[in-house]
Amino acid sequence: MLARARPGTNGIRNLRRLSGGATQETWSFEAVLSDSVTPLILRRAPRAFQGEERQAIGLPAEALLIGLAHEARVPVPKIEIVLQPSDDMGEGFIAQFIDGETLGGKIARDPKFAEARKALAHACGATAARIHAIPTERLTMLKRLPPRTRFDELFRRYKIDGTPRPVFSLAFAWLRERIPPEPASLKLVHGDFRNGNLIVGPEGLRAVLDWELAHLGDPVEDLGWMCVGSWRFGEIGKPAGGFGTREELLAGYAAGGGTAPSLEHLAYWEVFGSLNWGIMCSAMAPVFTSGLDPSIERAMIARRVSETEIDLLNHILPRG
C-alpha cells in the first residue's frame, strides 16, 4: 500500500499506538526504503466506531480539507495516502509525521515551551484567520451550520441525552438571548481548534490537527472554542489554550487577515463551547454503559461534565 505514495518502500518498522483519542486510533511508524527511513502517522477509525459521532465528517473528507489547508499556508501534516476499501483497514489516512508536542498540559505548562507560549495565541489567531479564508465552493460535503442551526442542534442533543442539568438549561436560556446574527457568508470552521489538537515545538506552532468536526458556519466559533476552560490545562488565567490572552488571539486573527469579533461575540461561542463539550461528555456515559466502548477512559470523560458546569456558572452566574 505504501508503495502507492512511495515506490520502493520495503516495509515498515517501529509501529506503535500513540496515547490519546478514545474513538480513533493514531499510530506512528516508519516507512523503510532502500536508502532512507520516513516517519509517518496512520489515523484510522475501526469499523465499530464509524459513524458513532454523527457530526464527524469522516477521515477521507478530513484528508481533503488538510490538503486545502496546506495550500492556504495553514501548518498541517502533508497527506501521503488515503485508505481505500481494498486496503481493508477501515477509513483513514497516512500523513507525514511532524515532530513536536501535542499534550495540552505540556504545551501550557512545560518550561520547554516558555518561549513558544509568548507568541502562540497570536499564531493561533493568525492561523484561524487563514482557515476561515479558505474558499468554501468546493466544500459541498460539509454541513451548513449557521449560529441558529448550531444552537438548535445542541439543544436537541441535550434533550436526546435526557439527563436534566439545571446549569445546562440556564446556559441555554443565556445563549438563546444572544444568538449571533447569521453571517453574510458562512466560513470554513475547523470545529475542534484547541490546545490538544496542535503540534507545538519550542519555537512555536507546527501543525493544526483533527479536522473531523469541520463545517461551514460563524468563524468566531473556532476562537471561542480555543478559550473554553476545559482546554486551559490548569492555566485558567490564560484563556487562549492555557498559553495566552483573548486579546492576543484576536490581535493575531486581525493580523492574519480576519475581522476580529467583539468580546461579547467571543463570549457567546466560549459559553457555547463549554456547553457543547459538556453535552459531549454526558453522551459518553451511555457509550460506556452499553458496552460499545467499555474503557475506563470513556467512563472518566463522562465524569468531566461538572468541569463544564463550573465554567458555565463562572460566565453566566459569577459569584460575588
Binding site: R16, R17, L18, S19, P164, R165, P166, V167, F168, S169, L170, F172, A173, W174, G229, R232, G234, E235, I236, I296, E297, A299, M300, R303, R304, V305, S306, E307, E309, I310, D311, L313, N314, I316, L317, R319
Partner: protein, 127 residues
Amino acid sequence: MQDKPPPDEILGAVARLMRETLLPQTSGRSAFLLRVAANAVDLVQRQIALAATSDDEERARLTSLLQRDGELAELNAALCAAVESREIGGETPGLAEHLWATTLAKLAVDQPNYAAYRRLANPPQKD
C-alpha cells in the same frame, strides 16, 4: 453486616498498588491507562465518602426552591423545566446558591484538582 475492612480502605489499597507497584514497571500507553484507572478508583472513593451527604443537601435545596417534594432526578427535571420556561432564572432568590453548591459538590467528587474548582474551594490566603 459485612466485615472489615470497609470498601474505601480496600479501594485505597488498590490505588496504591497501581501507582506505587505497577506504574513504575509500566510505560507508554499502558502507563497512561493505568494512571487513568487509578484516578477512577480515587473518584469512586470520593463518591463513597461524599455523595450521600451532598445528595441530601441538594434535595433539600431543590425542595425549598420548587416548593415540592420528590426524588432527586424528578426535582432536577422540574427545575430544568422551570428554567426553560423562564419561571425561574438567574435572578430567582436561591437559584445561584443552589447551582453553585451543587456544582462544587460534583467537582469535589469528579475533579477536585480542576483549577476553577480549586480557586473557589481553596481560595489563596491573603498575606
